[in-house]
């Protein structure tokens, strides 16, 4: 017996949303250059 359509859609949509946002924000963290602040000692 396979999964029913409703469960399958809920599972896939939820997983896609969560994986999408996780990957997007982590990719942005990796991509955004680390800024060295010269005024740290202010």
């Amino acid at each position: 017996m396979g999964m029913n359509t409703q469960a399958l859609i809920t599972m896939i949509v939820t997983n896609l949303i969560v994986i999408g946002f996780t990957a997007f924000f982590f990719w942005k963290v990796l991509k955004t250059p680390h800024v060295e602040h010269s005024d740290e000692a202010e």
Partner: protein, 547 residues
């Protein structure tokens, strides 16, 4: 000695923050909450609460931490007092929660962590090989109810390991563990999720295929409704506890950032990483595998007391059905995953206590780490020795549940209403690497406090069976799990009143005594920390550091 630690890298900080949030609850609490609250119905309120309560609280706590770090404060008593007008001196005592919670939770959490380590060892050494389901379940009961030298050994090892890593500092200890632990946890999780999603009826003794469990988990349960307040209270509660908000550990980690570091993107990344582990991996392991072997009815019954039983009593037995090699690998991965989830959280609990001791009493990093280790040994000992009398659960309830809600509610009032949303919004958005939608300004001021108030009321005045529909129809009978009835020990008193067996009666009376003593110990711990905060405050005044 000044506290001048900092994070070695941005990825390290995000992984450490995600590790702080990811705990055993991601794998054991979330799927159980979903099962008990309508399956597929649960996910919409859950994600909505993440947007309306989880993300805003992450923004608030990260920015409060960075704000405190600018003034050299790394624990909540003085982070909070710096945000409040000077006449409102009581805020530093609200901040006591941010040390107390970490100390008390670490005290019992390290014991839980040591179980995962012990079970990793037993999985690898083949202790569960050839045992019946009852045999594996009894192994766990015996381990926790009658802790022998092995349980102590693993516990002490865990305490020493945590303390040693903490003594190595943020970049040299905590960050390194997060960089190793989080990728491994995700790797182990993906393997187990694959196994969970590919259980086949009739293969390796499984009665049902994974789809049975997945249908149960992801379809709306008949009779459940998205408009049921019970589902929303449960969803808000789950979001709250999964993100480790209301503890003070996020504030502490963020306080070691540089003052021009971003908080918005980092907070989003760490928060969503926690959601990935919880929703994508956590939902694909325990429930589909257990249902595959035991069926839906059995799992519903087994999860009534939480997910710990499935994780420790059931899964080690089920792994044996996959053959000796896969049993060892799966056991190693499952308990290894839980161990990494645990240690990255317990390390986060150590840093606020250490930060406080370093900032206020000029302790060295090593000395503050070993002081923390000694404190959680003393505070944790009753949870090991008297587990069967409910001391562990008592710590979990008061320190790991109620204190969090109280602190989060007070901190958001401070941030949005006393510090002020204009200043607060500047803290969140300054140096941000993403544009934070301005709707969050409204959400943080109005929606998040309201939701927290719901969680607060839900905990204090929980109706019987969490049936909020009955409340709206005018029948508000308190559940024995509500804060009010828990204080009164009403559930235990009922049991005592209905017991006639003298031996059982004696055990229940003993339990009552241990519960009351453990509460007293927790209150004394809170009072002790408040006294230390007072001493620190006087010291600051004397040294001219209290402007």
């Amino acid at each position: 000695m000044s506290n001048t630690e900092s994070w070695g890298s941005r990825v390290g900080l995000v992984l450490a923050m995600a590790g702080n949030a990811v705990g055993l609850g991601n794998f054991l609490r979330f799927p159980v909450q979903a099962v008990q609250n309508g399956g597929g119905t649960f996910i919409i309120p859950y994600l909505t609460c993440f947007l309306l309560m989880g993300i805003p609280l992450l923004f608030v706590e990260w920015s409060m931490g960075r704000f405190g770090g600018k003034f050299g404060d790394h624990s909540t008593p003085f982070i909070l007092s710096n945000m409040a007008p000077k006449k409102q001196f009581l805020w530093k005592y609200v901040g006591v929660f941010g040390i107390f919670t970490n100390l008390a939770v670490a005290a019992y959490y390290c014991y839980l962590e040591s179980w995962t380590l012990a079970y990793t060892w037993h999985s690898v050494s083949g202790s569960f090989h050839g045992q019946s389901a009852e045999g594996v379940a009894n192994f766990f009961n015996n381990y926790v109810l009658n802790p022998g030298s092995e349980a102590f050994l693993f516990w002490i090892f865990c305490l020493v390991l945590n303390t040693y890593i903490l003594s190595r500092g943020l970049s040299g200890g905590v960050e390194k563990v997060a960089k190793i632990g989080m990728p491994l946890l995700i790797l182990f999780g993906i393997f187990l999720a694959y196994k969970g999603l590919t259980v086949e009826a009739g293969v390796d003794g499984a009665k049902y295929s994974s789809s049975e469990g997945l249908n149960f988990l992801w379809s709306p349960t008949p009779g459940s409704s998205i408009w049921d307040p019970k589902v929303w209270v449960a969803a808000a509660g789950q979001i709250f506890f999964t993100l480790s908000v209301g503890m003070g550990s996020i504030h502490c980690y963020a306080s070691y950032m540089r003052k021009k570091d971003d908080v918005a993107l980092n907070a989003m990344s760490a928060g969503w990483m926690n959601e990935f582990v919880e929703v994508c991996l956590g939902a694909a392991i325990v429930i589909p595998i257990s249902i595959g072997y035991f069926g839906i009815e059995w799992v519903i019954e087994a999860t009534k007391t939480g997910g710990l039983g499935l994780g420790f009593r059931t899964l080690p037995y089920l792994f044996q059905q996959w053959g000796p090699t896969l049993a060892v690998i799966s056991g190693l991965f499952w308990f290894g995953l839980l161990f990494f989830a645990g240690i990255t959280s317990s390390l986060a609990m150590g840093t606020p206590c250490m930060g406080f001791l370093q900032d206020e009493f000029k302790m060295s990093r090593q000395k503050s780490a070993w002081t923390f280790g000694a404190a959680i040994f003393i505070l944790g000992l009753p949870t090991v020795l008297f587990f069967k009398y409910g001391v562990f659960d008592e710590y979990d309830y008061w320190a790991g549940t109620i204190s969090l809600v109280v602190f989060a509610l007070l901190e958001i009032i401070l941030f949005a209403w006393i510090f002020g949303m204009e200043k607060g919004w500047k803290e969140i958005t300054s140096h941000a690497d993403i544009k934070v939608p301005s709707i969050f300004k409204f959400i943080i001021k109005w929606v998040t406090p309201t939701l927290l108030l719901f969680v607060f009321v839900g905990a204090f005045f929980k109706p019987v069976d969490n049936d909020w529909n009955a409340v709206f129809q005018g029948s508000w009978v308190l559940d024995d799990g509500s804060v009010i009835n828990t204080i009164l020990n009403s559930g235990l008193h009922k049991k005592i009143a209905s017991t006639t067996d003298p031996a059982q009666l004696e055990e229940l009376n003993k339990q009552l005594t241990f519960i009351n003593w453990s509460r007293l110990l927790l209150v004394a711990t809170f009072a002790g920390i408040a006294a230390l905060v007072y001493v620190a405050y006087r010291k600051r005044v004397k040294e001219g550091r209290w402007a």
